[in-house]
């Protein structure tokens, strides 16, 4: 160190420069921080994510879930071979659709309470127990889809039939007649075909090839029953 101190002033001196001579020039000032946290990039990302969903506003949470549901609705309306419904399954969409459909279908036209259309509970039970039965059936036949993925797909594919119910209720506001019935019949048939095609597009690939028809038939029956309930709905 003593040698280094002498060297800058004297260019004629032939003494060799020691190693790391310039180090002594560095002065450590007070405002460079020498402490901090060692963070692994992955961990910091997770911590960011956790704190953001805890601290985010309710509006953000709801919008995120609604956007996910809406994205899946789009996938049902324009069925392509995609994995979105299967990968990020959720049951919000099926619940919303089932409740909407059951509310619209309940107790259509009865002079006798026993003789009318289905009650709310009956529609609810048919939809959820029907979906569970179809899922169990496809798993027992050897399909490799998980339980909730299948429920998710079957629930989301009720969307076309819910739209048909809305249309039917609007059409029924006009006076009834054969044309009224034909319009409703046409709409229900188209939406039924749409539902079956959409759910088959998602579900058929998970079955072994020699049992595809066995797994698809209950889906057909399920949507047929719901379509029948929609078609026979008559308001009070």
């Amino acid at each position: 160190m003593a040698e280094a101190a002498e060297s800058p002033g004297d260019p004629a001196t032939a003494s060799p420069k020691p190693l790391f001579a310039g180090l002594s020039d560095i002065s450590i000032s007070q405002d460079i921080p020498v402490e901090g946290e060692i963070t692994i990039p992955m961990r910091s990302r997770i911590r960011e994510f956790d704190s953001s969903t805890l601290n985010e506003s309710v509006h953000n949470t709801i919008m995120r879930d609604l956007k996910a549901v809406g994205k899946k609705f789009m996938h049902v309306l324009y069925p392509r071979k995609s994995n979105t419904l299967l990968r990020d399954w959720d049951l919000w969409g099926p619940l919303i659709l089932c409740v909407t459909l059951a509310l619209m279908l309940q107790q259509g036209s009865a002079d006798n309470e026993k003789d009318g259309g289905p009650q709310f509970a009956e529609v609810f039970v048919i939809i959820w127990f029907g979906a569970v039965t179809i899922t169990l059936n496809s798993k027992l036949l050897g399909g490799n889809i998980s339980f909730f993925q299948s429920l998710c797909v079957l629930g989301y594919c009720i969307l076309p039939l819910t739209v048909a119910m809305l249309v039917c209720r609007l059409v029924l506001l006009a006076d009834s007649g054969p044309i009224n019935f034909m319009v409703r019949l046409f709409v229900v048939i188209v939406m039924f075909a749409w539902s079956v095609i959409a759910s088959t597009a998602f579900l058929a690939d998970s079955q072994p090839p020699n049992r595809k028809a066995l797994a698809v038939y209950p889906v057909f029956l399920f949507y047929f029953v719901i379509s029948w309930m929609i078609l026979t709905f008559t308001p009070k």
Binding site: A110, D111, D115, G116, Q119, L140
Partner: protein, 297 residues
């Protein structure tokens, strides 16, 4: 050489009779058909070492194939081990019953499935309710005084009736046949699942002919049942056989007639039952006044 006899090709009927006598062997695997339990068929020409290996292998295989307990998923999966073509073949077999052909031996081949009975019953229940509703619609077209209603409770009634019939009657039949097993030694009764399977597939014929629900469908269905039960029952005394078969046919006919009257006759029965309730429950006098009018017509 006894082993060479076992190596010879067996006719199907013999094999199925062998199966009938040892039903436990059949339900586990098909490859055990020609090999009696525990024996090694391939003894000719092998050294002693290989024989020991074969013994170990067969005993190991039989251990592996033990049926899993009824609380596991795999147990139930074994009853859905059918392909589309097999189900269609079984349905065709039930549509065309023939006296020589035994449904259980020929079509089920001692591998009953639960897919057919379950979904055929579900389809039949919904088809009954829907067709009953359609009948009401058509009746209303002819006679506008009939009040149309969706009548959703019929779905519940249809479902309960069909499922109870398709499961409780085979249970009773199976129980009765097992009780009588002591009388006959030659051929054991069918297992419970085979009986359920036979009943389930025999109900299929009602689905396409549901409008008629007539004598033809009833005849086809009942004859299928009778031909299937005949080999099991013919060893018994004539009286028991006759009573059993006639009871089976009678129950089937009751189902057909009951469904016909409940679902397809919109006019007399329904409007007689509800009106007292309608009068007491409904506050609307207009509705109360229409029901006596329909009773009169």
């Amino acid at each position: 050489m006894a082993a060479a006899d076992e190596l010879a090709f067996h006719e199907f009927e013999e094999a199925t009779n062998l199966l009938a006598e040892t039903p436990d062997a059949a339900t586990t695997s098909r490859t055990d058909q020609l090999t009696p339990q525990g024996h090694v068929a391939v003894a000719v020409g092998l050294g002693a070492e290989d024989e020991v290996e074969e013994n170990d292998k067969t005993s190991l295989l039989q251990e592996e194939k033990q049926q899993p307990g009824f609380w596991t998923f795999d147990y139930y999966q074994s009853f859905f081990d059918v392909d589309t073509s097999q189900v269609l073949d079984r349905i065709k077999g039930s549509l065309l019953p023939r006296p020589g052909h035994n449904f259980v031996r020929h079509h089920l081949r001692n591998r009953p499935d639960l897919y057919g009975p379950f979904w055929i019953c579900a389809t039949l229940a919904f088809v009954l309710a829907i067709t009953g509703n359609l009948t009401l619609v058509l009746a209303q077209r002819k006679d506008p005084s009939i009040h149309y209603s969706p009548q959703f409770h019929k779905v519940t009634v249809a479902g309960i009736t069909i499922y109870c019939y398709a499961w409780l009657v085979p249970l009773a039949l199976w129980g009765f046949l097992r009780w009588r097993k002591g009388v006959r030694e030659r051929m054991g009764p069918y297992t419970f699942l085979e009986t359920v399977c036979v009943y389930g597939y025999s109900l299929f014929v009602f689905i396409p002919t549901v409008w008629l629900f007539g004598a033809l469908a009833l005849a086809l269905s009942a004859s299928g049942l009778v031909f299937t039960l005949w080999p099991v029952v013919r060893e018994d005394t004539r009286l028991v056989a006759a009573v059993l078969l006639s009871a089976v046919v009678l129950l089937h006919a009751l189902l057909a007639v009951g469904c016909k009257f409940y679902f397809f006759q919109p006019l007399p029965l329904e409007h007689i039952a509800p009106p007292p309730q309608a009068i007491s429950l409904s506050p609307n006098t207009l509705l109360a006044s229409t029901s006596p009018r329909t009773m009169v017509t």
